[in-house]
Symmetry: C2
């Protein structure tokens, strides 16, 4: 087994307190590796990082057009949102246009990831519903697709449901990696997730933004989803997400998607490149610094942008009175 | 630099999704290593793991007796509590007996770590105060000691305040490791924290429970603090902490103290041993599994207890509908 390198250090004062190891792949749409750190053949569960690929059937089936979904709805279908009121309302609206409501969602519920939204919900004496689940937009897209295709939506999260076979087909086509029961497990929102090589994920996102290697219809659907996410980054993420400032740093030029267990996928359309990475230990602070540092490196010809991205890879760590007592620091092997 | 071994695996289905590396030292009070995994000479910031040592001046100064502090108050002075009402009320009572209130606390505030306590606070339309800070018991103990010693308590968190010099003296005496500006940084609650070897921390906790190598007065104070923590584990931790079930598994026989950034310290009085460990990446789920697995290993002659501790090292990972979709697993090098 390859020991992945230390890519991110957590400093307290001037001392390294903790470290994050990981692997990073940057690929073009042919799967050619432009940059690799650590074991990029390592299979990882992409979790929420592939929601945009999982949303292809929503567009390809015609469901999105039939229901009048614009960029915000498509972005939310690709989102790990923070459970803010605008996210919850839009997910409810998508379901409603599909003739359903939140009782059809099989993702379970949790308190909003956005702190202010969670406090506001509690202050109102309410408890979270399935609409607050960070995956409710994705699931709403799934349900609307099932309805449009006249598939019985009950059990749509199950491995053997025909809708999940559609997802597998799209995932295999885009990433080139096999998806089957043997490399599957169950995600937090109850749908299957499949462990595939990091480099396959990177190639997949290069294809999502270039369309290369995809059918014309799929390339068009992919482009529409990626464009929607970059145009409406708040609806793919939320106010206090690590994704939002990365996409806001260069509107329309960077797609990123954070996922559980330290996975991040990204794409840079102008370079025709896809990026995938996994922080070995699953920490978001590690993966967030990794993706920001890699983007800063890939986009270094745009000095102002690269500096902004580099700053996002180095957040301060505050004490409880707000004093900076530590910081995050990409290692030279990562920062380049 | 030594690469610490993988001690804990995070499984999704049957597949390893993430891993946690770390180092573990088990020492007697002479500093003899009974067990070592990874680099035990590595300096780590113990953060909240050494609160019981930091509470020695409270007892040794006579402040605790003068203010009528019993086991609960002493436990809270050693605690990273979860901000539950009983914790908050007792911290306020300690301060009040010392002639102070929460405005004297310099630790800053944060929402209670206990989820139900946080929701209840929000539902009541309130915001957290310094009393909800997980360190408020420790800081209340500090303040009461300052008052008893007629030290001006303002700025008691600062490196150069005479009270912090008392803490350094106690820390050096118990652990045998040097504490100075060069190995210091600032903790989340604004007091200094000092990076010292893992094995020094383990030896320190062996001394805390055996008294060996300490003055008679210090040994008595240490024994009183450790006994208080084991007698009142809820006041050292809280309802949903990882510490509480470990101490409840064998009342009076196990002391554990969790800390930020993947540090755990522990002691087993009947074996005369101290334990210290650091999860490289700072994850609590890693350090919690490590300490439970090490305790299960050290106490294997008590089969029922060892099995219970081993179970605590292997929690299930639920989906949002509560289905077990993964689990935590100590590796053979850790489990023994």
């Amino acid at each position: 087994m390859v020991t992945n390198p230390i890519l991110v250090e957590i400093l307290r004062g001037e001392h390294v307190e903790s470290v994050h190891r990981g692997a990073v792949a940057v690929c073009d749409s042919d799967g050619k590796l432009l940059l690799e750190l650590g074991d990029v053949a390592q299979p990882v569960f992409p979790r929420s990082a592939v929601k945009a690929i999982q949303a292809l059937p929503l567009v390809e089936s015609g469901a999105a057009d039939a229901l009048g979904f614009g960029k915000r709805e498509l972005a939310l279908a690709c989102a790990s949102h923070r459970g803010e009121p605008a996210h919850v309302e839009l997910a409810a609206s998508m379901l409603s246009r599909g003739g359903l409501d939140e009782t059809a969602l099989e993702c379970g519920s949790h308190w909003p990831h956005n702190h202010n939204a969670a406090v506001a919900l509690a202050r109102a004496g309410l408890s979270p519903s399935t609409l607050h689940n960070n995956c409710s937009g994705k699931h709403s897209g799934f349900l609307c697709t099932c309805r449009h295709l006249n598939l019985n939506h009950r059990g749509y999260v199950g491995y053997s449901h025909p809708f999940q076979a559609m997802i597998r087909e799209a995932m295999e086509d885009v990433t080139g990696a096999k998806h089957h029961a043997g490399n599957s497990a169950i995600d937090g929102c109850s749908i299957p997730t499949y462990a595939i090589p990091i480099r396959s994920l990177a190639r997949g996102f290069a294809r999502m933004v270039t369309g290369a290697g995809l059918s014309a219809a799929r390339a068009k659907a992919a482009s529409r989803l990626m464009t929607a996410c970059m145009a409406e980054p708040f609806f793919v993420s939320g106010s206090d997400s690590v994704d939002l400032p990365l996409m806001q740093a260069a509107p329309g030029r960077i797609f990123v998607k954070n996922a559980a267990e330290g996975v991040f996928c990204a794409a840079v359309p102008e370079l025709g490149l896809g990026i995938a990475l996994k922080c070995d230990d699953g920490a978001e602070r590690g993966s967030a610094a990794m993706i920001a540092a890699i983007l800063a490196r890939l986009l270094k010809s745009d000095e102002a942008l690269s500096e902004k991205l580099s700053g996002l890879a180095r957040p301060a760590i505050p004490s409880r009175i707000g004093e900076a007592v530590g910081s995050v620091r990409p290692t030279p092997i990562l920062a380049g």
